[in-house]
Symmetry: C2
Subunit: 156 residues, 2 copies
């Protein structure tokens, strides 16, 4: 189906990972690769598909907020090979918890955001006249959806 060439240039890897050429060199310098990047004639970097696969994992971990230091630690562990699976597990579990918490926090925030969008939608659809009632009534459902917040700030 798809041809998978054995050797990839930095530009090709950049293209298929979405990382910049700069970032690839930076990642290498930061020790984020599991296998040392080989060099071809003229000292040019030669990547293989495995590198791209690994980078795609890195990208996902980064996208989910794993700091480079942790990612480096993880790469170190993988590079070391067998014998540290428990540590990898701990690291990944910790990250999982952070991500789960982050999703929870964002979902909570979304409550407020949705509420505000709703308020503004109502105001827009009612025309500007309604704005004068800004600090009046018109807030029955807010409390249930955003329990911790006082009303005054909610309508601004």
């Amino acid at each position: 189906m798809v041809e998978v060439p054995e050797s990839l240039s930095i530009g090709q890897v950049a293209e298929r990972t979405g990382l910049s050429v700069h970032a690839l060199r930076f990642y290498e310098q930061e020790g984020l690769f599991v296998n040392a990047v080989r060099r071809g004639p003229g000292g040019r970097r030669i990547y293989c598909q495995d590198d791209v696969d690994w980078l795609n994992v890195c990208i996902i971990l980064r996208a989910s907020g794993m700091p480079l230091t942790v990612l480096r630690r993880y790469a170190d562990l993988v590079r070391e090979g067998a014998g540290n699976v428990d540590e990898r597990l701990a690291l990944m579990r910790e990250h999982q918890e952070r991500v789960t918490a982050q999703i929870g926090s964002l979902t909570e925030s979304l409550d407020l955001i949705r509420f505000k969008v709703g308020v503004y939608e109502d105001l827009v659809s009612q025309g500007d006249a309604a704005l004068r009632q800004c600090h009046g009534p018109s807030l029955p459902p807010g409390e249930a959806r955003t329990p911790g917040l006082r009303h005054e700030a909610m309508v601004e």
Copy 2:
């Protein structure tokens, strides 16, 4: 029920928002307050409950990834008062989309993370002997859960 004093010191506001005293001054300097912070004798900042409410909104927006520049823009709009509800709505909708997208992306990432946690859990529970089969079989459900990724990188 709870007493709400009219005047709050910077320390009190820090305490009840969780922001640092430094951050409060920084936020003020960045124009993130809707109402100018009043000053008491000796030039000390005097906050009121409205400020705390507003800050709590800010905290949620920040926690959901709204940059300070956008938050400032939002504060500007609110400070201006009526007549820009459509712009507020646009701003908040945009943020809502970003947050929704972010939750989606994190949830996707979580698939990979869970998968890796699962792999490591299996390896740990099976003992180290299983590690030698690392690049062998044992990966049936991975594809459905993480479609875009090749298998090799998944077991590292």
